[in-house]
C-alpha cells in the first residue's frame, strides 16, 4: 500500500532528524560539562580557605591564594559594567527608537566592527587613553578597556530586544498622550527588560575572562590593592602568570583560579537572573 509506505518513510525521516537534533544538543551541552568537570577535577583540590583569603606567596613557599585577584576582578568588572552597561543600553535605545537614519546606520556598522576588534587592540586603546595620561596602570584603566568591549554587545542586543516590543505597545502609550521619552523609559524598556538583561550578562561573561586587554591596563599585582587608581590583580591575569611558570604548585593554583573565574561568571549571571525573575513575577502575575 503506497500510502503506508509514505507514512513509514516520513516516520523514519522524523526519527532521524529528531535524533540528529538531540545528539547535536548533547554535544553542545557536553562540551560545557566537560570543561567544567575538568576544571573541578584539576582545580577543586587547591580551592580552599587560604586560596580565598590569602595573596600569592613567593616561589618555593607553598600555599597562598588569589584573594587579591578575585577582589581585583570584581572591581574591574564593576567599573566596566558601570560604564559599559549604561552606554550600551543608551546606544541601543537610540538605535531602536530614533536610529532609522544615516547616523543610526553608521553607529550600527561601527559597533559591529568594534565587536570584531581583537581584545589586545582594545587594551592598547585603553593604554593610550587612560594609562599614558595618568602615567600609571590602574584598575580603572582595566575597567575602561573591558567597558569598551561590552558596549557593542549590549547595544546591539538592547536594540534588537527593543525592536521586538510590538509597535502596538508604543502606540497605546502615545495614544494616552505620554511623550516618547517617557514611553521608552517606562514602557518599552521594561517590556524588553528580560532580553536586555540577557545581553548584558552575555557581555559581562565575555569580558570577565579577558586577559589581553588587562595586561597593560590593570597590569596585575601580587599584593592587596583596594584602589581603583592603582595597578590591581585580576583572575585571568593571575591564571596566565601562573600557568606559564614551571612550578607545579602554581599550576595547581592556576587551575583553581580558572575554576574560580567560571564560578564567578556563573554565580553573577544566576544571581542577576534570580533577582530579576522575582521582580518579573511580582510585576506580571
Amino acid at each position: 500500500m503506497p500510502k503506508r509506505q509514505i507514512s513509514l518513510r516520513r516516520q523514519m525521516t522524523d526519527y532521524f532528524f529528531t535524533g540528529l537534533a538531540a545528539s547535536l544538543s548533547v554535544i553542545v551541552v557536553s562540551a560545557l560539562i566537560a570543561i567544567f568537570a575538568y576544571l573541578v577535577l584539576k582545580g577543586a583540590g587547591s580551592l580552599n580557605l587560604s586560596f580565598l583569603t590569602q595573596t600569592p606567596k613567593p616561589v618555593g613557599e607553598t600555599g597562598g591564594g588569589m584573594a587579591n585577584a578575585l577582589l581585583g576582578s570584581v572591581m574591574i568588572l564593576g567599573i566596566a559594567s558601570l560604564f559599559g552597561v549604561p552606554i550600551g543600553i543608551g546606544a541601543g535605545i537610540y538605535l531602536a527608537e530614533y536610529g532609522r537614519n544615516r547616523l543610526g546606520k553608521l553607529v550600527r556598522f561601527t559597533s559591529d566592527v568594534l565587536n570584531g576588534v581583537p581584545s589586545i587592540v582594545i587594551g592598547l586603546v585603553a593604554y593610550g587613553l587612560v594609562v599614558i595620561p595618568q602615567r600609571h596602570f590602574s584598575a580603572f584603566a582595566g575597567g575602561v578597556a573591558l567597558a569598551i568591549m561590552m558596549v557593542p554587545t549590549v547595544a546591539r542586543t538592547a536594540e534588537e530586544m527593543l525592536l521586538l516590543v510590538p509597535h502596538a505597545v508604543r502606540e497605546a502609550a502615545f495614544g494616552l498622550g505620554i511623550p516618547q521619552w517617557r514611553t521608552t523609559l517606562s514602557i518599552t524598556l521594561p517590556t524588553a527588560r528580560a532580553g536586555i538583561i540577557t545581553g548584558v550578562m552575555l557581555a559581562f561573561a565575555r569580558v570577565a575572562g579577558e586577559t589581553a586587554p588587562l595586561m597593560f591596563t590593570a597590569f596585575g599585582n601580587q599584593f592587596w590593592s583596594f584602589s581603583a587608581n592603582q595597578p590591581i590583580a585580576a583572575l585571568p591575569l593571575q591564571i596566565f602568570t601562573y600557568a606559564i611558570t614551571p612550578y607545579d604548585d602554581w599550576h595547581r593554583q592556576a587551575w583553581a583560579g580558572a575554576l574560580m573565574l567560571v564560578m564567578l561568571i556563573v554565580g553573577t549571571t544566576t544571581l542577576v537572573r534570580f533577582v530579576f525573575m522575582r521582580r518579573m513575577l511580582r510585576g506580571t502575575s
Partner: protein, 251 residues
C-alpha cells in the same frame, strides 16, 4: 446640536501617496459617529488624524484643519491633543509588564500624577465606566493586564483611555478581534460612554454601525462619499456608491 470635532479639508499622505483627499466633516458632540468603507479606503487614517497618531509614522504627513472643542489640534502639542482625544485600537494592547491597576493608571502616572488617592479613585471610576470593575476588583494589583481574556483586555484598554478623561474617544475597529459576546459588551459600553463623551468608531461591521452610531460616514478611496444620519445612510443613501457598498455589491 453641538459640534465636537470640525474637520476642514483634511489631507493625509504616506510618503508620496495621498491617502485622504480633502475631508470635511462635523462630528456631533456626545454622539457616536461611525466611519465605514472597504479596506484601504482611508477610514483608519482619517481617525488617526483626529488625534495626530497619523504622524507617529515617520513617512506620514497631514494637512488641513481639525478643531476639537474649537481648538486647532495641529497648533498645539501632540501629547496634549492625545490626552483630549483618546484612542482604542483594533487589537487590545495592554502594557504587558504592568498590572491591571498600573495599566489604567499609566496615562496619569506617566504624565506626572503622583497622588495615590487620586489614582485609586480614577482607576476605580474608569474600570467601572468600562464595565470591568466587578470582574477585576480583587486582582487589580496582582494580575497582569495581559493575563485577562481578549474581551476583558479591550475593556481594560477602554478604561485606560478613559482614565485621562478625554473629550473624544476614537475607536479603530474595537470589536473586530473579539467574539460576539465581548462585542456586545463593547457596544453596550459605547451606549453608556456617549452620554458623556463623543465617540468616533471605525467599523467593518455595518450592523454594528447601525446599532451604535447616530451618524455614519462612508469612505471610498480616500474620499468621504456620504455623511448623514445612520438610518438615512442605511435605508435611503443619496449616493449610488454608498448603496452599492451597503447592499454588498462590492467591498
Amino acid at each position: 446640536m453641538a459640534t465636537a470635532i470640525e474637520v476642514r479639508d483634511l489631507k493625509a499622505w504616506f510618503g508620496k501617496t495621498e491617502a485622504l483627499h480633502g475631508i470635511n466633516m462635523s462630528v456631533a458632540a456626545k454622539h457616536a459617529t461611525a466611519v465605514i468603507g472597504p479596506s484601504g479606503c482611508g477610514k483608519s487614517t482619517f481617525i488617526r488624524c483626529l488625534n495626530r497618531m497619523h504622524e507617529t509614522n515617520p513617512e506620514a504627513k497631514a494637512e488641513g484643519k481639525v478643531k476639537v472643542g474649537g481648538m486647532d489640534i495641529y497648533e498645539m502639542p501632540a501629547v496634549d491633543v492625545r490626552r483630549r482625544v483618546g484612542m482604542v485600537f483594533q487589537k487590545p494592547n495592554p502594557f504587558p509588564t504592568m498590572t491591571i491597576y498600573e495599566n489604567v493608571a499609566a496615562g496619569l502616572k506617566l504624565n506626572g500624577t503622583r497622588n495615590h488617592r487620586t489614582l485609586d479613585e480614577v482607576v476605580e471610576h474608569s474600570l467601572q465606566q468600562a464595565a470591568l470593575w466587578d470582574e477585576v476588583k480583587d486582582v487589580l494589583k496582582k494580575k497582569s493586564g495581559a493575563s485577562l481574556s481578549g474581551g476583558q483586555q479591550q475593556r481594560l484598554c477602554i478604561a485606560r483611555a478613559l482614565a485621562v478623561s478625554p473629550e473624544v474617544m476614537l475607536m479603530d475597529e474595537p470589536a473586530s478581534a473579539l467574539d460576539p459576546i465581548s462585542t456586545a459588551k463593547i457596544e453596550d459600553l459605547i451606549f453608556e460612554l456617549k452620554q458623556k463623551l463623543t465617540i468616533v468608531i471605525v467599523t467593518h461591521n455595518m450592523q454594528q454601525a447601525s446599532r451604535v452610531a447616530e451618524f455614519t460616514g462612508f469612505f471610498l478611496m480616500g474620499n468621504l462619499i456620504e455623511f448623514d444620519k445612520t438610518e438615512h445612510i442605511f435605508t435611503n443613501p443619496s449616493d449610488k456608491r454608498t448603496e452599492d457598498y451597503i447592499t454588498g455589491r462590492f467591498g
